[in-house]
Symmetry: C2
Subunit: 288 residues, 2 copies
């Protein structure tokens, strides 16, 4: 099965996209609702929780781990890769890839939790991408000494890229309370977007599972900015990843099964699971 | 020592009041920052966490447990009393007592987390108080049959009491983000108070450790309503409770010591502890 975990139930948006993209593949989900949220906790604790979550999924038969939580992807993905023998995919790489392809002026914004923003991971991932992708034109032509290239107009298709990140922690509880189109939400969205707009971003990564639910509100406040939904870009990357690895693909069961587990089954969990994934979805509680 | 626990660090407001009221008594505090918040989790889980928190304090030498968290007081106080051999005090009883004494028209409001409001505990505590406190006047005079009392104007000093509770979950993250005087906060306070004002409450219990920090904002939106701060009323009740029990009092150490533990030591924890309790306060992390 494909294993997906999140700090809560926000990661069900990722499950939904995976089910759209890879409908036949079985998915097992774990939402750590007993310890939600992760975004305001320490990196050490998030790593510990992420490892426990992933191990639970492996016990349930996962052959591949998807971290649907941005905070856990930011802080714990490398750690899980070191600790586990299966592939571990996070939401950040695919989102940065997509943002890089979408931006025209090279200025990318991210909104996320405090843990995500403090990790500096988006900037790091971008830097690593920039270093591995070959430069396309003139400036990389080392046969011409720098002083001779001076003044020469260099055609370059890739602008200088930069990512500016903004913590937007209050949007999570607002979404969880269903305050989608309330004036308080609009005001906070405007407040959080302002420093990013001042930096003239043309592309914005919605770096927390809850934010895509505010897409319309964000679009209204920033109509010219392209929005990147990490749930969608992750699902697309996951498809490529699996199709590229025949052995892994063969190991994944394909009966369109979906198994959902949480560590605390509140009324809200069932409500949201049914709302997002359909009425006949069944969620089980596991005791740690 | 006096043991105090909370889901996070909000309960330090209770510690502060206890230190004001009983400065010589040693206090050990535990804030469960690794699993904060409790207010949106299930009653069963809150009970489990509360018992673990209390047992940690007993291990550290607590002879008396104070539940600083409203959600845990609401859901888990009776459970802890059954499970533990030491006295367990919560914030709800003293707050209802104080509200009952303060109200003139008998209409009391409460704002709290979803767990607190859903528990119905404030109404239950009020009902129990009403039943145990003797009625002061005519209507309790059983020597006169009811039909004879009919039509007679009865002088009564205690009005019919009622409590109306309103969940105000978004105020917690707003306080934690330091959004005290921001327009979004004022707007949400107005929104949450509106149904209570429609019920013509004259007294409001601030039923979550974070809310007293919004006292000024709340007062501005409801200038005629008396505000009850459960941290203060609990500290007053605690003093009476201890002074009434000589053996318990003797068992409590009195060196003005304060020991603070949390399950996740983030930067924010140290900051807030120093802000609320003074610069030389030291917080230790415990691993569960």
């Amino acid at each position: 099965m494909i294993g997906v975990f999140d700090s809560g139930i926000g990661g069900l948006t990722v499950v939904k996209e995976i089910r759209n993209m890879l409908p036949e593949y079985d998915v097992v989900y774990f939402g750590d609702t007993a310890r939600v949220p992760y975004g305001n906790k320490s990196p050490e604790l998030i790593k510990k929780y992420a490892l426990e979550d992933a191990r639970f999924l492996l016990d349930k038969g996962a052959k591949l781990i998807v971290i649907a939580c941005n905070s856990a992807s930011a802080v714990a993905r490398e750690y899980l890769r070191e600790q586990l023998d299966v592939p571990v995919l996070g939401v950040i790489g695919p989102a940065v890839h997509a943002a890089k392809a979408a931006t025209i002026n090279g200025r990318i914004g991210v909104i996320g939790t405090r843990a995500t923003v403090n990790s500096g991971i988006y900037q790091l991932v971008l830097k690593n991408l920039e270093q591995t992708v070959p430069q396309s034109t003139g400036s990389s032509d080392r046969s011409v000494p720098a002083f001779m290239r001076k003044g020469k107009r260099i055609q370059t298709s890739t602008p200088v890229m930069s990512i500016v990140a903004q913590a937007a922690p209050l949007l999570v509880p607002l979404v969880e309370e269903g305050y989608i189109h309330k004036p308080e939400t609009k005001q906070l969205v405007r407040r959080y977007l302002q420093p990013l707009k001042q930096q003239q971003i043309d592309t914005l990564i919605l770096g927390c599972t809850h934010y895509p639910i505010l897409k319309e509100v964000i679009r209204a406040k920033a109509p010219k900015i392209k929005l990147i939904d990490p749930a969608q870009t992750l699902a697309a990357e996951l498809e490529l990843f699996i199709k590229d690895r025949r052995e892994l693909d063969r190991s994944l069961s394909k009966r369109h099964e979906l198994r959902l587990y949480v560590s605390d089954l509140t009324l809200q969990v069932n409500e949201i699971a049914n709302l997002w994934l359909g009425k006949h979805v069944n969620v089980e509680e596991v005791q740690w």
